[in-house]
């Protein structure tokens, strides 16, 4: 968007940067073409949108969340709330009042009498509209990047007919609106960069819009962070040239920096926080999944029941014990460890009767003796913990736990029965940790307020829990509990949440007053949880793939496969491979440049190559920023995680085409463009049945599995 010009300064030569393109004026002919193209795009995006009239793939989640917003009932999800709230708003406008439950994939949106249970077409129109706008914006972005009308139209067409973009923008999913916000960010930024008059009205307007859309992107999905990274690199690059441009006065350099800092950093943060503020405002009712939040968070939700939360804990109290580090409950159930055959003790995230333990004295007491007297639990008291549901005592044995097999780990289990003789290996000393406890909870153990360690007397270790999952097949993916001699403090801390005793009544002892968490407290807690949940999504999934597979389109994702219809997310192979080719050409181009580069020598600039260089750089970095970080993520990934990268890649294809056109002439350029267009157009047409869920021939389907891992299900076709 900008061209560098070499100027002789007073003391030394410097680069002078100037905007590349004047605001474009469309000719009448171009306008007609564009209108037709718009109609075509609408057709591609909205065609058959009511089909299938069943819940497809992740619609089951996002539909459910929309319902939660409408019912105001709290839920927890790994993604920021913006797009989910938009879906809720659209559903609400369409008359959805939360009566339909999105319970599983394949549920019908249409009732038995043909009545619409959910305004699902309206809800799907939102991503479809987003998809349409993306295509049109792509055209203008390319124009403002110095491409001619024909090339810009070519690029936009590729965006329009890319199978995975089409499929992804037809259902109630987050990716299409997310991509719309990203593309809007790019558009505003390109417009901003082309503005000739710094600090002018339009300059500020586009800078402002860039910041706004950046904020909206990151409020849709955390992928937006990569967009921030991309914009950061772009901005620093821009500033670097500005600083070197001696025709810009010092004062203006400072202003340039400050304006960008405000609009591109502070503004998006405000928007992001604002989105979460609305999110918390909407979700004010306690619900099933609010069991996973901390007590103070819970207190901020309506309808939270703290009625049995007595402040003092007594011998004979039945309590649930919560782990501070992970926020999960000490839990046991009627299953054993595979090696030792002892009953499992785990950490479990949800409220459950299997979380209940009765606090008993070190010595054997009959139920009568135990429950007939209230005696408060204090620092350094020795207790035994009786697991109510399975009638056994919490026990540590000097053998290795199933996962952490180091010598310093001891296995924790439940042993014995009600009449079990008291033994040192069931004795735990309560050690209150003052630094973490409330002021009044440092001597007597108080629910919620007191944070303590449980020191095992027999093996001299401390009860410990951590984010290490037991295998699904026997441990249900719950977290491991062990006992460690000198544990990391944070993971050995516990507090009491539920607390009942037969002698406790409405007046005695006092109840705990839990102070509700404020906005920032909730914000931070939710983010920690989102981060952990996100990082914890490591289980392998049938259709998951790795980033390197996306480049060559190794495989797709099965979205829907029932009622004679199949929807399979698959990219457009010529486009996917075209991106790799384009990036490869860029890499070779750069390597040659690097080899030719001589230190202390001005690079030779021709118009076409400068344009290609600077423009391609923008989209290449965009592609890289959204793609490369995936390699660092250990969580499960799917093809649709490539979508933002994919868009940047398609724009790169167009920019290279412009260079080919400019450098090698009209004839070669036209041939080059038409080849790509023809191949990808044919591919789109061929695979459209699995994009739109149309009829297909079984044999054709089978023979369309071009690559070995394309597991398109063909069983629904005749």
């Amino acid at each position: 968007m900008a061209v560098f010009e070499y100027k002789k300064g007073i003391q030394r030569p410097y680069f002078f940067t100037k905007p590349l393109v004047k605001p474009i004026m469309l000719s009448g002919f171009e306008k007609i073409q564009l209108a037709l193209f718009f109609a075509f795009t609408v057709a591609v995006r909205f065609f058959n949108i009511q089909n299938p009239n069943q819940i497809v793939f992740d619609e089951v989640h996002f539909g459910k969340y929309a319902r939660n917003y409408i019912n105001s009932s709290y839920f927890m999800d790994v993604h920021p709330p913006l797009v989910k709230m938009l879906y809720a708003a659209i559903g609400y406008l369409g008359g959805y009042r939360g009566d339909f439950v999105f319970s599983k994939i394949g549920d019908h949106y249409i009732g038995k009498e043909g009545e619409k249970l959910v305004p699902y077409v309206l809800m799907r129109s939102f991503p479809a509209l987003s998809g349409t706008l993306i295509v049109i914006l792509s055209y203008f972005i390319l124009r403002y990047s110095g491409c001619r009308h024909f090339i810009a139209l070519f690029g936009a067409t590729l965006v329009c007919i890319e199978n995975s973009l089409v499929a992804q923008s037809r259902f109630i999913l987050l990716d299409a609106p997310l991509l719309l916000f990203i593309v809007l960010t790019v558009y505003s930024f390109v417009r901003f960069s082309n503005e000739p008059e710094p600090f002018g009205k339009r300059w500020i307007r586009y800078l402002f819009l860039t910041g706004v859309f950046l904020g909206l992107s990151v409020s849709s999905k955390w992928v937006g962070i990569f967009t921030i990274g991309w914009l950061g690199i772009m901005t620093v690059n821009q500033l670097w040239w500005l600083i070197g441009d001696l025709s810009v006065p010092d004062r203006d350099v400072v202003r340039h920096v400050l304006y960008r800092a405000y609009f591109l950093i502070i503004l998006p943060i405000i928007i992001y926080l604002g989105v979460f503020a609305i999110h918390f405002l909407l979700l004010h009712e306690a619900s099933g999944s609010s069991g996973t939040v901390s007590p103070r968070f819970k207190a901020s939700l309506d309808g939270t029941d703290f009625s049995n939360l007595y402040a003092n804990v007594s011998f004979g109290s039945t309590v649930s014990i919560r782990h501070l580090g992970t926020g999960e409950f000490l839990h046991s159930h009627n299953h054993t460890y595979p090696k030792s055959h002892n009953q499992q003790v785990t950490l479990y995230g949800y409220k459950d009767t299997n979380n209940l333990f009765t606090i008993e004295k070190k010595d054997k007491l009959s139920d009568k003796e135990l429950f007939s007297k209230v005696s408060f639990l204090r620092h350094r008291d020795i207790i035994r913990l009786f697991h109510k549901k399975t009638q056994g005592y919490l026990h540590v044995s000097d053998s290795r736990p199933p996962i952490s097999e180091q010598d310093y780990n001891n296995e924790v289990s439940i042993i014995g029965d009600k009449d079990y003789e008291p033994d040192i290996n069931e004795n735990f000393e309560v050690k209150i940790v003052k630094e973490y406890s409330a002021e009044d909870g440092t001597q007597e153990v108080k629910s919620i307020g007191t944070v303590f360690q449980l020191f095992h007397k027999g093996t001299k270790c401390t009860l410990f829990g951590h984010r290490v999952k037991l295998p699904k097949d026997w441990g249900f993916g719950q977290l491991e509990v062990t006992c460690i001699e000198s544990p990391a403090l944070k993971n050995s801390l516990w507090y009491i949440e539920e607390n009942t005793h037969p002698l406790f009544n409405q007046t005695y002892p006092a109840k705990v007053e839990v102070e509700p968490l404020g906005f920032f407290g909730k914000f931070v807690e939710l983010h920690k949880k989102m981060w952990r949940t996100n990082a914890g999504l490591t289980a392998s999934h049938k259709y998951s793939s790795r980033p390197e597979d996306w480049l060559v389109l190794d495989r797709g994702v099965n979205y829907f496969n029932r009622s004679g219809k199949t929807i399979y997310l698959l990219g457009n192979l010529p486009i996917y491979w075209g991106i790799v080719f384009t990036i490869g050409v860029f890499a070779v181009f750069k390597l040659v440049q690097l080899w030719k580069w001589k230190p202390n020598h001005a690079p030779t600039v021709t118009d076409a190559s400068a344009k290609y260089d600077s423009q391609f750089f923008i989209y290449f970095v965009g592609w890289l920023c959204h793609f490369a970080p995936s390699f660092l993520m250990k969580r499960q990934l799917f093809l649709h995680h490539y979508i933002p990268s994919l868009w940047f890649g398609i724009i790169s294809i167009a920019v290279l085409s412009e260079y080919v056109w400019a450098k090698l002439g009209k004839f070669v350029g036209f041939f080059y463009v038409m080849t790509i267009l023809g191949l990808s157009g044919f591919f789109f047409y061929w695979y459209s049945p699995i994009v739109y869920g149309l009829e297909w021939n079984k044999e054709t389907c089978m023979s369309s599995r071009l690559l070995p891992n394309w597991d398109i299900p063909c069983d629904q076709f005749q």
Binding site: R12, W240, I243, L246, R400, S404, Q406, D423, E485, A488
Partner: protein, 757 residues
């Protein structure tokens, strides 16, 4: 200029230096002459030698001080001492680290004439009792640790810094608690750090030859760089980071050779490349392999590492020295059992516990079970399977023990033992009773290394005998013997403290193995051969696989982000009686100073780049080349040794930061001198100091150091560092007990010291 120095000026300047050493500078440096003279003196070879001697001697003092204390196994000496013993016994073992440093340690043991009998099983075991030449082992580390200090000094000297800077840089390492603690124990880090510093030193020497490529010295230092790099990577794989550092330098070198203005042919550049490739990669690799060759050659006998290897590999190992005596125990064998700590045998005889002990407690009046050091037929026990099995006893099995002499079964129950009211009494009951009390006669063999399902072997397999229903371990002690009714033999009882090391027993002998039993005659194993590279590849692959497995929590593991600030350390050793402890932690002011320098460097580079782009040329060209080429190299070195840890998911410890800390020390000293040098171009000099109007003209000029401020600043920093070193010395050396209050005073940042209460 050097020619014109008069004796007088040398004396004068030396006087200034002496005084500055005592932090008593009173000399005014107003006049130019003095300024220049002192400057020259600081670059005088003599003073470099004096400084070098000073730091070297002090380094040896700090590293060797109280090296004999504690005379017990400390922290990871458990591992590396053990490995040395395996080398000395030539029994095969497996470890994640390459063999070089471990071979060195073993070699030290070999020179000391040690046979490797002691196996360093737990922290706190006595060296004196077990007659281990631990002083030789530790001296090896201490020598390397001490020599690291002068190498740091020389790195700075070769980079062209003044004596004061060299001394300062060396002192950051010299007076660092972490370096001292880590390099005087039997650990690999002393070797690692020593060779890291040598690699950097030789690379600096090599770059100084760049104007005379392919000269003798050029080849020599290139060769040494490669050799030392190889030693680093043969000690620990963090050596990759040292490679990365030197690699950055080499790539930059080659890149500048490509500059068209230099006019070299591609062939010539190719020659440069080939020389570096050969001496920095190929030769080091061969040396690296060589250590493995020696490793395999020494470890020719079967040992604790066998199970890691493939069966083909295991066939290349001969029998372990124990093999002739280690025999598999079968059910129904008659055996004797020896208590590891006291050497006494499990024993019983026809005498009962008295009804009442002296303290009035009551016994079960059952048959006595004792431990007896002499040979006696009453030491014989028969191993019986509760399920009536025959064949090999495996570790982890449940057994019953029949006392042959009195035909009764070993049993323990919830009756207090003669001496310990808390421990259970052992007794022997007759056949009939033993059947009634079946459960109470069941004992589980709990192997000491927790690895089950291996055959139980006499003399070789140590185990705890755990009573199944009451979970106590069979234990005996010789600090108090039974009175006359027990014939002054040792008491045997059931210990609830299962983790005690003194619970270990071993099958001493199998009595009367039949003539036709194959166990009777020892047949040495037939040894096969495998090509060296096959063995090496197998081991190498295994090392990487195992390394990646080390990913779970460790109580002392820490996050790399906390390292440069030395937020929390590692407790190496404690002694609660005398309230002594060794706590591994850096010199906190010293480490924070490095962080400040590293941060300021980034700021300075940014400011320089920014101002230059705005056409303000503040720094002179020579200052900039110092900033980017010399300091920049050390900065990159620090980054290479530190940042990659953020990408690693295995467990990480503070001592991983030491190589980075070493490079940062060199950097910090150099950076400090840079800051106190007048680096401004004439345009930006103020009137007072700019004497020559055209100072940036063609005539090269010595840079000016602001001596007064520089030396007093260094003196201030040094005194803080030295003070802090002595303040924390009780934790570094562990030879002084501290009161609770004194411990609390030293509990800075996130440190978790023992005995703070």
């Amino acid at each position: 200029m050097l020619n014109t120095i008069s004796l007088k000026s040398i004396l004068q300047s030396s006087l200034i230096m002496m005084k500055s050493k005592k932090r008593l500078i009173k000399v005014s440096s107003n006049t130019d002459k003095e300024l220049k003279n002192s400057h020259i003196a600081f670059r005088d070879e003599k003073w470099y030698t004096v400084g070098l001697l000073l730091v070297t001697v002090t380094a040896f003092c700090t590293r060797f001080y109280a090296i004999n204390y504690p005379d017990e196994v400390v922290f990871d000496e458990v591992h590396f001492g053990k490995f040395a013993s395996y080398y000395l016994e030539r029994t095969y073992f497996f470890d994640l680290h390459p063999p070089f440093a471990k071979l060195l340690i073993a070699f030290a043991g070999f020179l000391a004439g040690y046979n490797g009998e002691f196996k360093f099983t737990t922290i706190g075991e006595s060296y004196v009792k077990n007659e281990v030449p631990y002083m030789v082992y530790r001296s090896l580390s201490a020598v390397q640790g001490s020599l690291t200090v002068p190498i740091v000094y020389l790195c700075l000297k070769e980079s062209g810094y003044t004596v004061l800077t060299c001394v300062f840089g060396a002192c950051i390492i010299l007076f660092d608690g972490a370096h001292v603690a880590e390099t005087r124990l039997i650990l690999l880090d002393a070797t690692l750090i020593f060779f890291v510093s040598l690699s950097i030193y030789s690379y600096i020497k090599f770059t100084k030859q760049r104007l005379e490529p392919f000269s003798q010295n050029w080849w020599k230092w290139l060769f040494f760089t490669g050799v030392f790099l190889s030693c680093v990577i043969s000690t620990k794989y963090v050596g990759v980071f040292t490679y990365l550092t030197i690699g950055c330098g080499v790539l930059f070198d080659l890149w500048s050779l490509l500059d068209y203005k230099k006019g070299y042919s591609l062939g010539y550049v190719g020659k440069h490349f080939a020389a570096r490739f050969f001496l920095l990669i190929l030769v080091p690799f061969l040396i690296y392999l060589n250590w493995f060759y020696i490793h395999f050659a020494i470890l020719s006998k079967s040992g604790p590492g066998d199970n890691f290897m493939s069966s083909e590999f295991q066939e290349t190992l001969g029998d372990s020295p124990l093999a002739a005596f280690a025999k598999e125990v079968h059910f129904n064998d008659v055996i004797t059992m020896k208590h590891k700590e006291t050497g006494a045998m499990l024993h019983s005889h026809l005498a009962n516990y008295p009804l009442r002990y002296e303290d009035g407690r009551v016994s079960s009046q059952g048959q006595q079970v004792t431990a007896y050091s002499g040979e006696d037929p009453n030491n014989n026990w028969q191993v019986i399977s509760p399920e009536g099995l025959a064949g090999v006893v495996t570790q982890g099995d449940v057994i019953r023990l029949r006392h042959v002499g009195t035909d009764g079964y070993l049993l323990t129950h919830d009756v207090a033992s003669p001496f310990y009211p808390t421990n259970e009494e052992f007794t022997v009951v007759g056949e009939e009773k033993a059947t009634q009390r079946w459960n109470e006669t069941l004992f589980r063999i709990d192997p000491y290394d927790k690895k089950k399902n291996r055959p139980l072997k006499s003399k070789a397999s140590f185990f705890k005998l755990i009573h199944v229903p009451t979970v106590v371990a069979m234990w005996t002690h010789n600090d108090q013997l039974l009175p006359d009714w027990g014939f002054n033999q040792q008491e045997v009882n059931g210990n609830k403290k299962l983790a005690d090391e003194s619970n270990l027993w071993v099958v001493d002998n199998i009595i009367d193995i039949a003539e036709d039993d194959p166990r009777k005659h020892y047949v040495p194993k037939e040894v096969k051969k495998l090509p060296f590279l096959t063995k090496w590849l197998e081991l190498q692959r295994l090392m990487f696989v195992q390394n990646n497995k080390l990913s779970s929590d460790h109580p002392f593991a820490s996050d790399p982000i906390s390292w440069p600030f030395s937020l929390s350390g590692v407790s190496f050793w404690t002694n609660s009686e005398s309230r002594k402890q060794i706590y591994f932690i850096g010199n906190i002011p010293g480490w924070w100073m490095e962080v400040a320098a590293l941060g300021s460097f980034l700021g300075l580079v940014f400011a320089d780049q920014f101002t230059r782009r705005r056409n303000c040329l503040v720094l002179t060209n020579s200052a900039r080349s110092r900033l980017y080429y010399n300091l920049g190299f050390f900065f990159i070195g620090w980054c290479c040794h530190y940042l990659p840890f953020f990408l690693m998911s295995r467990q990480k410890f503070l001592h991983h930061y030491l190589p980075a800390h070493l490079i940062a020390a060199i950097f910090t000293a150099g950076f400090l001198e840079f800051v106190f040098t007048d680096n401004r171009t004439s345009e930006f000099k103020d009137q007072k100091t700019s004497r020559e109007p055209n100072s940036n003209s063609s005539k090269p000029k010595e840079t000016l150091i602001l001596w007064l401020t520089f030396s007093s600043f260094v003196a201030l920093l040094l005194s803080i560092i030295v003070w802090s070193f002595f303040f924390f010395a009780p934790l570094t050396y562990g030879n002084t007990g501290l009161s609770a209050e004194e411990v609390q005073q030293r509990q800075w940042l996130d440190m978790k010291l023992q005995f703070a209460k």
